[in-house]
Amino acid sequence: MLRRILRSREALLVSAIVLLLLLISSRFPGFVAPANLANVFNDTSPLILLAIGQMIVILTKCIDLSVAANLALTGMVVSMVNVAEPGLPIAVILVIAVGLGTILGMFNGILVWKLAIPPIVVTLGTMTIFRGIIFVISDGKWVNSHEMSPAFKSFPRTDILGLPILGWIAVLAVIGFTVVMTRTTLGRAFYAAGGNPHAATYAGINVGKTQFWAFTISGALAGLTGYLWVSRFAVSYVDIAGGFELDVVAACVIGGVSIMGGIGTVAGALLGALFLGIIKNALPVVDISPFWQLAISGGAIIIAVALNAQSNRGKGRIILKRAEQAT
């Protein structure tokens, strides 16, 4: 029953995306050419990576508003490391990026877990703190393209089988986290901790600790995306990805992740991100001013959340009816 609802929600989203693509291709067939679709996927990859992390956090009844600031801080740190030590291999840069992102995520997690501060307050605070730290370490200066080493810039753009490495990383993350969420105890703990924290506690799951791991994963993905972002756009400054945290939350909501926790899948987050990514890439093609994008994604969020609530409400009513019959 539950599985069918989840399936149908994702099926709905897939059909919405296909419909969107058909509409665009009816007038601009070039948009659905494989090369362009690969390009759109690649362009959406940062959003996909962050949406997966955010989905896990939201599953546990939390929210992470600091992801974009984490991304920007990690991006700035690795680009400054690159400027200082241009010879450093990319593997080391990746370790630094993921490591720093993980630490920042853990910081959020520890405040939520050990001090029980509401996640929205914690991440609102760390969001501004991280941005501020970027300014302090960079002195407000930009790290520009010509200062970065060629290897640093070329890594995410290297083509493998028609898709740049950036896109492949997103593919790997989707596969990897699908396995984690459906086939490991930790993955199931995320669902349990958000679906019913009391029951999860009685089942031997430490809810706070589970939330801590959710923030850690979100932070690690944000850190990884931080390097990919600055090397892809070949620039790093204080305000990169400003406001991106809301796009990430939007992708999750559109992907059917319940803000109340406990409901959501990696596939949903992927589809939600793709939906936003396709709109963003299609607007200039169909010659609509890019200024429309914000309003469209806002409308999409409202429609998506209304649809989500509809399916949840039906479930609640059925349970009530059964309870009445039982008494």
Binding site: T128, G132, V136, L246, F291, L294, I302
Partner: protein, 328 residues
Amino acid sequence: MSTTDRFVPDRLRSPLEERLKSWETLLLLVAIGIFVANSFASPYFLNAWNLSDATFNFTEKAMIAFAMALLIISGEIDLSVASIIALASTAMGAAVQMGVGTPGLVLVGLGVGLLCGAFNGVLVTRMGLPSIVVTIGTMSLFRGISFIVLGDQAYRGYPESFSWFGQGYVWWVISFEFVLFAIIALIYAILLHKTNFGRAVYAIGNNATGAMFSGIRVQRVKFILFLLTGLMSGVAAICLTARLGSTRPSIATGWELEIVTMVVLGGVSILGGSGTIVGVVIAALVMGLVTFGLGLLNVPGIVMSIVIGALLIGVIALPRLWSIWRAR
């Protein structure tokens, strides 16, 4: 704290009130500390005109923060307030181009604010959607409409009499905005602490189901709170537009988070059910003083945000760390 917690004759008052009182005292001490530190740090701080200028740092945000405080106490949140400012300001700008005078502009600003609030309210109370997601959506939608209308353009040419709302002084260094801020603070303090409506807001925040069974029209109260938040965003839009004298779609970007910070810093529980207007007033003063004082010391705005963020987490974390440490 440990003994009084066990014997609670009236769940709504004693322990909660005691804790809130100490919260506001703590916050007031922080405010005084910042004030004193500032006056030592910069010779320009203790100057009536400079201090008057400093009030503009928080008056507009605080107006919205009062309505937001009630909304958060009731267990909801509105992240679209800054976008409502953008949309209301854009509407006023468009009205100016059509030759609407100052009274008309004020009506347009307030009207758009109310409409946006009603839109949020209907989605949350009628359709039963979670407010945090709805208002993240309307946040994009409202500002998105401003972007569609304005693109990379700006509206200018507001009438002289209109700019008084943002730049006028009632008496000596007392600006119109500051007077408005004080009046609104008083109204909200009375509304929250002295009326049945205010009690209903607390009741809903503590236990919405219980409130419903004791005869409170939960959805209606919440709808009114969304209307009020929209209305206050309209008021803030009028003041801000009048002060800047122009409208861009990026106006007031990021204010929603500063306003929520202000409310939470003021001791309002983000989980709903507790908080006072006095706390929010002091939090507004703290944030204004920090911003202004560091500004005088040539500290860039973004560094101030570290201080604000650290304040937000620190003020909540320290009492909890303290109680953990005492429990050992």
